[in-house]
Symmetry: C2
């Protein structure tokens, strides 16, 4: 891994944990033990670095979504449940210190360079597209009713999801993710005859 | 209004807009034109000030909730819809610069004094209690089914709500609040015979 990649990776880890404002370039350098000149060799500014970190996180998360939402071994709705279970395990593994980098920066947007805004929203729109595709598969597979508006259901998912991650971090417990999962799944427009009994997490 | 109240009020306005980390005591002083000594006369530290601001915001928001959720002129579920409409107007009025102070600080919690955590969660729990009471009224009034778990529905509301406010701020548009409202209301367990056609906002 070259130094630029290592810096971006370190930035991803730090910015899932704390705010951009409270993160200094020194914090990034410290975790890699590289000199300041090295940072400025790769990035013109903290803003340019932030942009690279957002891009990298968005790409990482899209890969994670593809892995889970395109999994042919289970039904489309089960894949959505699996995403939630995976995120739950991820947050537990990091003791609820890490949330969603896009949500973190989105919350902080008023204090951030305007260039971040478009990138953050683009990440949400990309995740929405991926989830909407999965929900359309659920509709085709007879899990959701034919009238299900998969795009709206996907937008709603990500809106509520970010609130759940925020709250899980705050109370350092995965129960908000579970409550979100139950609330979202219990409100889905299941096809007639579908049990609707996908419980993402127990 | 005395100086302490004015300082807290100013802190509430600033912290609904930007992060605690990026807010200096100077920003507070600037908006009131008082000297630094005056700030330290009332507050031992920025942390003590932050605690006072959280308490004051939580009390302000609880009063707002009571005004809307105890309104005898409309049905309990309509009151919930009215809360969303009110928040929508509030965000528009401030050009989506202001979000939820509790959500903002909750997101930033990893970088904040630990004393904030309990206060932030206490505010959510208080709002949950108030909304759950309103949902129980909706159940008694025959809007929700008798099996409705009003406590869970309330917890779910606030989890998802914070995500909606975050996203509305990010894209500077109220559509995330509308999508949340439609998603939440369409997933409610309406009593048999209830049309379920409460649309909070058009």
């Amino acid at each position: 891994m070259d130094t630029r990649d290592a810096l971006v990776r370190c930035g991803m880890e730090i910015l899932t944990e704390k705010s951009f404002a409270s993160t200094g370039i020194e914090d990034i350098l410290k975790c890699l033990n590289v000199p300041k000149g090295s940072f400025y060799h790769y990035f013109d500014s903290k803003e340019a670095f932030g942009c690279a970190v957002i891009d990298s996180y968005a790409a990482y998360f899209a890969r994670k979504l593809d892995r889970l939402l395109l999994d042919p071994s289970c039904s489309p709705l089960q894949r959505v449940a699996n995403f939630i279970a995976d995120a739950c395990q991820g947050m537990e593994r990091h003791h609820f210190q890490r949330g969603c980098l896009i949500g973190n920066l989105g919350q902080e947007m008023n204090s951030l360079p305007e260039a971040f805004r478009v990138k953050l929203e683009a990440a949400f729109l990309d995740w929405q597209d991926r989830l909407a595709a999965c929900l359309r598969l659920a509709r085709s597979a007879g899990e959701l009713t034919e009238a299900a508006d998969c795009e709206q259901l996907s937008v709603y998912f990500w809106i509520a999801w970010e609130g759940a991650v925020l709250r899980a971090k705050l109370i350092r417990d995965s129960s908000p993710l579970l409550i979100f999962a139950r609330g979202y799944f219990s409100g889905l427009p299941y096809a007639p005859g579908h049990s609707g009994l996908i419980v993402p997490l127990s």
